[in-house]
């Protein structure tokens, strides 16, 4: 998947805007939005919000979690916890990036927020790398990835599934050659194929 597709999917998130025009509700295929009343906040999909903001037709209300105190707390929590903590939004990086690039003026302390969000992302990324390292060395085929966001999953997509596929392929070859050459089998089990690889990959 392309990063652009991740952004495309993330643009479905709802965000609050304050329009400076009035209009009847719009019935989009994805659901209805509005009515728009000048000065009153209304929830719209992010793609619509960025479009309207570029046209100077609204102000974007930053989501609740885009706040220094909350984010600092999340950052500390993320540092403390061994596991991934739950993020306030499924697509927090996409939302933050889009909101802050289209409407930096609508976000108070924009630059600081940018830094802290990037910090959180970095902490999570490095945690992710460490756990992937442990996971691959542990010769697992299954892992739970709760609380990871789509973008983070995507960032390891080029490496994690492929390396696992390769390992699985080697193991299959190993079991196959084991069957062929019963002579070698004794030494092979010890070295190349893991202790519990056989039943699954030989099918």
């Amino acid at each position: 998947m392309d990063p652009a597709i991740i952004e495309f999917i993330g643009e479905k998130c709802m965000i609050s805007i304050i329009p400076n025009f009035s209009n009847e509700p719009l019935h989009l295929i994805y659901g209805s939005v509005g009515p728009f009343r000048a000065g009153f906040p209304v929830f719209v999909p992010l793609w619509m919000a960025t479009h309207l903001r570029k046209q100077q037709k609204c102000r974007i209300v930053p989501p609740e979690w885009m706040d220094m105190d909350i984010l600092e707390e999340i950052k500390e929590e993320e540092k403390r916890s061994k596991f991934f903590t739950k993020m306030p939004c499924e697509h927090y990086m996409v939302v933050a990036q889009l909101v802050m690039s289209t409407a930096p003026d609508d976000v108070p302390r924009c630059e600081e927020l940018r830094t802290v969000i990037k910090d959180i992302f970095d902490i999570r990324e490095s945690k992710l790398r460490t756990s992937i390292d442990a996971f691959i060395k542990g010769e697992g085929t299954y892992a739970k990835l709760d609380n990871l966001t789509l973008l983070e999953i995507h960032s390891v997509r080029p490496i994690l599934p492929y390396s696992l596929d390769h390992i699985a392929r080697y193991q299959r070859t190993a079991t196959a050659s084991q069957r062929d050459t019963s002579m070698l089998s004794a030494s092979m089990t010890g070295s190349s194929s893991g202790p519990n690889s056989n039943s699954l990959f030989s099918q």
């Binding site: 495309f8 025009f21 019935h27 085929t141 990835l145 709760d146 599934p161 699985a168 699954l200």
Partner: protein
């Protein structure tokens, strides 16, 4: 003013016979009702699943057809609107997004058909008419693609080769690696999923995410109990 407004709310109707196998197993004899929103959600899930899955998944041709007619219908309604009208702009932006999803979905399937042509055709031949995975158009494409490739190879290369190298069509079949790892999110709680060696089992909570070899969860995806991410 209200001409565009109600477009998206129109209820779409599909034939029960064609719609068989969709989520709603309503016992309505004649028609099954489904909203445009539901169709879009189904398509979106199908699109993401298709992008992530190693093999080709059942075609959503019915849903696509509904969506195409919905999009055409909305464009029809929008024709009278001023191009710079706020509503026209937003509606056409959404239509662009919908069209992108549909195009990307179809493109992704074509790519798989081109890569695994022979394998997919063989599988289709062994399936019952009711659980064919390709739409009639895709089947036609796959067959023509296969015969064109064969003919081309024959013309430029294999006819000049010694006999024993020709009859190896069977060995040239490219098959998807069904054991490749995928990322998965459970839609509902699924108890006791076998997740690997030694029949180890795990209960998946609703909304939880996992990385797992595709083949072990292929049926969950088809039953819509889980989706790929």
């Amino acid at each position: 003013m209200s001409d565009v407004e109600d477009v998206a709310e129109t209820q779409l109707e599909i034939d029960d016979t064609e719609g068989a196998g969709l989520e709603d197993d309503d016992d309505d004899d004649d028609m099954e009702q489904i909203t445009a929103q539901k169709v879009l959600e189904t398509l979106e899930t199908a699109w993401i699943n298709e992008m992530c899955a190693p093999e080709i998944l059942p075609s959503q041709a019915d849903m696509l057809e509904l969506m195409v007619s919905q999009v055409a219908h909305m464009e029809e309604q929008m024709r009278d609107l001023d191009k710079n009208d706020f509503r026209a702009v937003v509606h056409s932006m959404e239509l662009e997004r919908v069209r992108y999803i549909m195009a990307s979905y179809l493109r992704c399937r074509l790519q798989k058909i081109e890569t695994f042509t022979q394998h997919i055709l063989n599988q289709e031949a062994s399936r019952e008419p009711d659980d064919k995975r390709l739409s009639p158009e895709e089947t036609k494409f796959a067959q023509e693609f296969a015969s064109n490739v064969d003919e081309y190879f024959h013309k430029v290369a294999t006819q000049y080769m010694p006999n024993q190298q020709r009859g190896e069509a069977e060995q040239r079949i490219v098959t998807p690696n069904l054991m490749s790892h995928v990322f998965l999110k459970a839609n509902v709680a699924v108890p006791a999923v076998i997740v690997g060696v030694d029949d180890e089992e795990v209960d998946m909570a609703a909304g939880s995410q996992h990385i797992i070899p595709y083949q072990l969860v292929a049926d969950l995806i088809q039953n819509n109990q889980a989706q790929l991410i």
